[in-house]
C-alpha cells in the first residue's frame, strides 16, 4: 500500500518543517509549504495529495479561501485545519459538507491525535475515490 501523501501548509516555517519531518517518521509522505499560493500551485501542478494540513490564519489568502480553492479543484482531498486561536469555523449545513474541512484541530496539536485524524481523513478520501467521486 502506497504512503499517504500529506501537504503541510503553514507560514510558520519552523512549525511546518518540523511537523512534516515528524509525519515522515510516522510513515507519511509529507511536503511542507509556507504560503497558500505555493500550496495551490503544487496541487494545480498535478501533485497528488491525499490530506492537506492547513493553517487557518495566513497572510494574503487565509485558510478558508484556500480550503475552498482546494475543494473546488478536487473535492476528495481532505483538509484538516490547524488553528492557533479560538476563531473556529462558521460553515454550517450543506455548505460545510461541500466546502468544509475534515476537522479542525487547535495548536499545539498532539502528534498521535493528528496521525489518527490523518488516517481517518485518508479513509474517507479512499471511500470517495472508490465511489468514483472527484477528478
Amino acid at each position: 500500500m502506497s504512503k499517504v501523501k500529506v501537504l503541510v501548509v503553514d507560514d510558520e516555517i519552523e512549525f511546518a518543517t518540523t511537523l512534516a519531518e515528524r509525519l515522515n517518521i510516522r510513515g507519511f509522505e509529507t511536503t511542507a509549504c509556507f504560503c497558500t499560493e505555493d500550496a495551490l500551485a503544487l496541487i494545480h501542478a498535478k501533485e497528488v495529495f491525499d490530506v492537506v494540513l492547513l493553517d487557518l490564519k495566513m497572510p494574503h489568502m487565509d485558510g478558508m479561501e484556500t480550503l475552498e480553492e482546494i475543494k473546488k479543484y478536487n473535492s476528495t482531498i481532505e483538509v484538516i485545519m490547524l488553528t492557533g486561536h479560538g476563531g473556529g469555523i462558521s460553515l454550517v449545513g450543506a455548505e460545510r459538507k461541500k466546502f468544509g474541512p475534515f476537522d479542525c484541530i487547535m495548536k499545539p496539536a498532539d502528534i498521535n491525535e493528528l496521525t489518527t485524524k490523518i488516517k481517518q481523513a485518508m479513509a474517507k478520501r479512499q471511500l470517495a475515490l472508490d465511489q468514483g467521486e472527484g477528478k
Partner: protein, 583 residues
C-alpha cells in the same frame, strides 16, 4: 447649554444637588427639604396675596358704603335746611315790613308755620339798627337789641345765616335761621329770624338710616368741636366731641379712630355748606360688625384649611418624588456597576484570548520541536546521556502541555463556537452531572442533595456546555467544603421564559473583597499543590453562561456557605447570543 441656577441656589441651597453621584441620605433629605420649601412658597405666596387682596377689597367696599351713607345724610340735611330757608323767604316775601311788624300778622304767621314745623320756637323781625321790632313766640323778647351780635353783621352781609346751637335766653338748645330783606319803602335792611328747636333736627337725623352700629350727628366747626345734635355715644347737644375735625372743607374725609384690640371707630366727616356745622357719621367698632366677622372667619378658615391641605399634599408628594429619584439613582448606580463589571470581564476576555493566540504559535513550534527530538531519540541507538536528554525533553513537553491547557481554555472563553441546540430537561442534566462527581463526593464525605422542582420547562440549549458549567460549579462547591459537608442543587422555573439553578454549599464562604474578583481570569484561591487551579474555571463558566443567554450571580457569607445562581432562558435568542459573544 447648561442653565445658570446661581440665583436659585442662593435662595434654595441644594436645589440641584440630586443629580450628583452621591446617594447619601443627607443629600436626599436636603433635596426634599428644599423641594418642599419651594413648593410651599409657590403655593403660599399666591394664597397670601389673594387673601390680602380679598381683605382690602372687602374693607374698601365697606369704606365706599360709609362714604355713600355720609354723602346721602349730608344731602338730606342740606335739603332740610334749604327748605327751612326757602319757607322763611316765601313767608316774608308775602308781606311788607310794615305788615309784619304788626304783632297780629306775625303771630298768625308764627302759628301757621308752627303747625307745619313744630320745632319752630319763635319768629322775630329786626330792623336795620338791630332792634327786634316784632316777636311771636313764648318769650318776652320784643325790643331786644341785637346790634352788637356777630350774627346780625353776618346776615346783613351774607343775606342768610344759620347759627350754632346755643342755650340763649330760652335755656333749651336751639339754633337760629335768619334772612336779610330790603324794605321797598325806605330801602333799609331788615332781618327775618326764627329759632328752631334742636329736637327737630334730631328727629330728622334719626330718620336717616346708615345701617346698624352707626351714629349720625352734627358738630360745630369753629373752635373746640361741640355736638350740635344728640349723639348716641357722646351725649346731648353742646357736649364736647373728643376728636379734632379735618381741615379739608370739601368732600368727605374718612378716618379710623383706633381703640383696644381691633376695636376701630370709622369716622366720616363732611362740612355742610352755608352752616357752621360738620356732619359726622361714625361706625362704632366696625370690625365687630357681623358681616366683617363672618367674612374674616371664612377667610381665616379657607386659608388655614388650604394651607394644611397643601402642606400635607406637598410633604407627601415630595416624599414620594424624592423616594422615586433615590430608587432610580440607586438602580442606575447598581446598573452602572454591573455594566462596568461585565465590560471589564469582556475586555479581559478579549485581551486574554489575544495573548493566548500570540503564545499559541511559538508554543506549537516548541511542541513540534520537542516531539521531533523525542522521535529522533527513539530512532537513534543508545548513546551517553540519551536517557537524561529524553527525560529533560519529556519535562519540556509536559510544561508545553500545561501551557496548552491554559491557552486552550482562554481561547475557549472567547471562541465563537457553533452552539448545538437541543431540548434539555435540566433535572436530568443535573443528575448526569452528579453521576460524574458521585465518587469524589463520597470519598470526601460530602452529601449532595438534589432539590429538583416540578414542572420545569424543557429548555433549548447546548448540553455539553451546560454540563461543563455545572461540573465546574459543583466541583467548586466540593472544593469549598473540603471534607464533610453538604451541597444542595436546586432547580425551579422562574417564569415562562427562564429557569434558575442554585448550587448551594456550606463551605467556608467567600469574603467580600474576593467575591468581586471571582469571575476574573487567573483568580484562584486553590493554593494547595495538589489542587492548584488555573483560575479560569469561573471565568470560562461566566463566558459560556453569557453565550447561552443566561446570567450568573453569587451570594456568600463567610463561615456559612456560598450560593451560585444560574438563570437560563427557555429559548436562546440566537442573534443576541452571537452579538454577545462577538462583542
Amino acid at each position: 447649554m447648561k442653565k445658570d441656577l446661581g440665583w436659585i441656589k442662593k435662595i434654595f441651597p441644594g436645589v440641584d444637588d440630586y443629580h450628583k453621584t452621591m446617594t447619601s441620605p443627607e443629600r436626599y433629605r436636603r433635596f426634599r427639604r428644599t423641594l418642599s420649601m419651594v413648593m410651599i412658597a409657590t403655593f403660599l405666596i399666591p394664597l397670601i396675596l389673594t387673601t390680602m387682596l380679598s381683605y382690602y377689597e372687602h374693607r374698601s367696599q365697606m369704606l365706599a358704603n360709609l362714604r355713600w351713607n355720609a354723602e346721602s345724610a349730608k344731602k338730606t340735611i342740606e335739603a332740610f335746611l334749604s327748605e327751612l330757608q326757602t319757607v322763611l323767604v316765601y313767608t316774608a316775601n308775602g308781606h311788607t315790613y310794615e305788615e309784619l311788624v304788626s304783632d297780629d300778622n306775625l303771630n298768625t304767621l308764627y302759628h301757621r308755620l308752627k303747625s307745619y314745623y313744630p320745632g319752630v320756637v319763635d319768629l322775630g323781625i329786626i330792623d336795620h339798627k338791630g332792634i327786634q321790632q316784632a316777636y311771636a313766640g313764648p318769650y318776652e323778647l320784643f325790643g331786644k337789641d341785637y346790634s352788637d351780635r356777630d350774627w346780625f353783621e353776618v346776615v346783613t352781609v351774607n343775606k342768610t345765616y344759620i347759627g350754632l346751637v346755643e342755650m340763649g335766653y330760652r335755656k333749651v338748645p336751639h339754633f337760629a335761621i335768619a334772612v336779610n330783606f330790603i324794605n321797598t319803602t325806605n330801602g333799609q335792611n331788615w332781618v327775618f329770624r326764627t329759632n328752631i328747636d334742636v329736637t327737630t333736627l334730631d328727629k330728622y337725623i334719626e330718620n336717616i338710616s346708615a345701617g346698624p352700629l352707626s351714629d349720625i350727628f352734627l358738630v360745630s366747626r369753629k373752635g373746640e368741636p361741640r355736638l350740635q345734635t344728640t349723639s348716641q355715644q357722646y351725649g346731648p347737644p353742646l357736649s364736647p366731641f373728643p376728636y379734632r375735625l379735618p381741615t379739608n372743607r370739601i368732600g368727605i374725609t374718612i378716618s379710623e379712630e383706633r381703640g383696644v384690640w381691633d376695636y376701630v371707630d370709622l369716622k366720616a366727616v363732611s362740612f355742610i355748606e352755608g352752616t357752621p356745622w360738620a356732619l359726622v357719621l361714625m361706625k362704632h367698632g366696625y370690625l365687630y360688625g357681623k358681616d366683617w366677622s363672618f367674612f374674616k372667619a371664612r377667610l381665616f378658615f379657607i386659608v388655614l384649611a388650604s394651607t394644611f391641605l397643601a402642606l400635607f399634599v406637598i410633604l407627601l408628594i415630595t416624599r414620594l418624588f424624592v423616594g422615586r429619584i433615590r430608587e432610580a439613582d440607586e438602580k442606575r448606580e447598581s446598573m452602572m456597576a454591573e455594566i462596568e463589571h461585565t465590560s471589564k470581564l469582556a475586555s479581559i476576555g478579549r485581551l486574554a484570548a489575544g495573548i493566548a493566540h500570540e503564545i499559541n504559535n511559538p508554543l506549537a513550534i516548541i511542541s513540534a520541536k520537542t516531539g521531533l527530538i523525542m522521535d529522533l531519540l527513539e530512532l537513534s541507538e543508545d548513546f551517553k546521556h540519551k536517557k537524561k536528554i529524553a527525560s529533560e525533553i519529556h519535562g519540556t513537553s509536559n510544561a508545553v502541555e500545561r501551557c496548552k491547557v491554559i491557552t486552550h481554555r482562554l481561547l475557549g472563553f472567547a471562541r465563537r463556537m457553533d452552539v448545538t441546540l437541543e431540548s434539555i430537561s435540566i433535572n436530568n442534566l443535573m443528575r448526569e452531572v452528579l453521576s460524574f462527581l458521585d465518587q469524589e463526593a463520597l470519598y470526601r464525605g460530602i452529601h449532595v442533595d438534589l432539590d429538583l422542582g416540578d414542572s420545569i420547562p424543557i429548555i433549548e440549549s447546548d448540553r455539553g456546555q451546560l454540563q461543563q458549567i455545572f461540573l465546574n460549579l459543583v466541583n467548586n462547591a466540593i472544593d469549598a467544603i473540603g471534607k464533610d459537608g453538604k451541597v444542595i442543587i436546586k432547580t425551579r422555573a422562574r417564569d415562562q421564559n427562564s429557569i434558575q439553578i442554585d448550587v448551594i454549599d456550606n463551605g467556608k464562604g467567600i469574603t467580600q473583597d474576593i467575591i468581586s474578583h471571582i469571575f476574573e481570569p487567573f483568580f484562584t484561591t486553590k493554593d494547595s499543590v495538589e489542587k492548584k487551579g488555573t483560575g479560569l474555571g469561573l471565568f470560562i463558566t461566566y463566558g459560556i453562561i453569557k453565550k447561552l443567554g443566561g446570567q450568573i450571580s453569587v451570594r456568600s457569607s463567610e463561615g456559612v456557605g456560598t450560593t451560585f445562581s444560574v438563570i437560563l432562558p427557555v429559548k436562546i435568542n440566537l442573534s443576541r447570543r452571537v452579538f454577545d459573544v462577538e462583542s
